[in-house]
């Protein structure tokens, strides 16, 4: 990876969104990678990613998961998969 990964959590602040944010932070810590985790709560911004269900997980502007809360291990896998593409 050439730059710190940009991870976004899409969701208007529901319980699931918070859980996803916490798990993502945990995944980032466990992987010991450089990444920023940002919560996107603005509904217009969320809509522009095209998801019909919140929460959404976005890595480097790509939606990698939505409508569910993946486990920490699954988030780690998604991050690794995405970083392999760069």
């Amino acid at each position: 990876m050439v730059y710190p990964m940009k991870i976004k959590i899409l969701g208007p602040g529901c319980v699931n969104c918070k859980t996803l944010a916490n798990r993502t932070l945990e995944a980032v810590q466990q992987l010991e990678i450089e990444a920023t985790v940002e919560k996107v709560e603005d509904i217009q911004a969320i809509a522009s990613y095209g998801i019909l269900r919140t929460p959404g997980l976005v890595i480097d502007e790509r939606v990698v998961s939505y409508g569910m809360v993946p486990k920490v291990e699954e988030i780690k896998a998604l991050i690794l998969k995405q970083s392999a593409k760069v």
Binding site: P12, I43, A47, S48, G50, I51, L52, R53, T54
Partner: protein, 336 residues
């Protein structure tokens, strides 16, 4: 030992059947063990609770499990595709039925609304979906079935569908497009391609997850509700409510709906109250109307939808659905 979900499901269903059929003798002997004084009000209340609570919880578990598996075959994304360019009336029917089986949480109402509009689904069709999805759900159906029998459950589903279809159709005909926030029409979203090909084991797993998520959230309400029901059962005189919520009180239907609209509760919380109402002399139409207005329309949902809908459309939405519910209420009071 790591069991495959499908095998686990077989064990689960087998265990469920055994427990279900052992339940009645077990509760009967349990109650006789308590050696309660016969014919006292407290005995009546305890009996009611001991019989009803485990039965309803068991039914809830199995239905949530099965519906969880069924839902894995549907998604809002696919529903959106199916509804694509449907005409108004047929679209309303489809949208209402898909509203029942598509996984939906009111916290996602806004992104879903935007996504539907972007695909060109008519507003009226979108509303049919948004009305049916929260109002008709497996928890409501199980509780109605468990406490009042299959006829009431069926009546609820069919009238709920009728309301969702006709309200969506009416809203569609009212040409309300101008009452949607302008920015909604300008959203251009990325094309999402998250391809997943779930195996049957994945779907069964989804069923178990649904049981874990829903039953763990709802069981407290069920117990409280049945508890309230038990209290009313033993202590409040029958026909207590007949004067104000019975058939003879013509105004009871609209008043129940007016009270129910701003209130919000999930099906699990409201049905035991409906139970108590019915038992104490409220008429079926009035009780159903109250229940529909509580779970179908709510202040929190309106506040969420206000982000994409202007106030006039929110009001139109509430009024059209409320009128539909009132008509259904009168209809049942008239028939029964």
């Amino acid at each position: 030992m790591n069991l495959k979900p499908s095998r686990l499901a077989v064990l689960f269903v087998a265990a469920w059947i055994i427990v279900y059929f052992a339940l009645e003798p077990a509760t009967i002997s349990f109650v006789s063990l308590l050696s309660l004084p016969p014919d006292s009000r407290l005995t009546e209340a305890i009996r009611f609770f001991v019989y009803e609570a485990p039965k309803v919880l068991l039914l809830l578990t199995i239905v949530v499990f099965v519906v969880g598996i069924i839902r894995s075959y549907f998604s809002p994304e696919r529903t959106r595709q199916i509804l694509g360019k449907r005409s108004l009336f047929l679209g309303n029917i489809l949208a209402s039925m898909l509203g029942i089986v598509t996984p939906f949480c009111s916290c996602s109402a806004v992104p879903l609304f935007i996504g539907f509009v972007e695909t060109g689904i008519p507003l009226g069709v979108t509303f049919s979906f948004l009305i049916a999805a929260p109002m008709i759900n497996e928890v409501a159906v199980v509780l109605l079935f468990g406490l009042f029998g299959w006829k009431t459950a069926l009546i609820y589903v069919t009238t709920g569908l009728a309301i969702a279809i006709s309200s969506g159709f009416v809203i569609g005909r009212l040409r309300v497009e101008r009452f949607v926030e302008e920015w909604v029409y300008t959203v251009k979203s990325q094309n999402l391609t998250l391809d997943s090909n779930p195996t049957f084991d994945d779907r069964v797993r989804a069923g178990f997850v649904a049981v874990r998520d829903i039953v763990s959230k709802v069981w407290v309400y069920v117990l409280i509700g049945i508890g309230v029901g038990a209290g009313v059962h033993g202590y409040v005189p029958e026909n207590f409510l007949a004067g104000i919520m019975g058939k003879s009180a013509w105004w009871s239907v609209p008043v129940s709906v007016l009270i129910g609209v701003p209130l919000y509760s999930n099906a699990a919380g409201i049905i035991p109250i409906v139970h108590a109402l019915l038992e104490k002399g409220a008429s079926l139409g009035t009780a159903l109307a109250f229940m529909m207005s509580v779970i179908g329309l709510s202040l929190p949902e309106m506040i969420i939808l206000r982000k994409v809908l202007k106030l006039p459309l929110i009001l139109i939405f509430v009024v059209v659905v409320a009128v539909g519910i009132i008509i259904v209420g009168y209809l049942f009071n008239f028939i029964y």
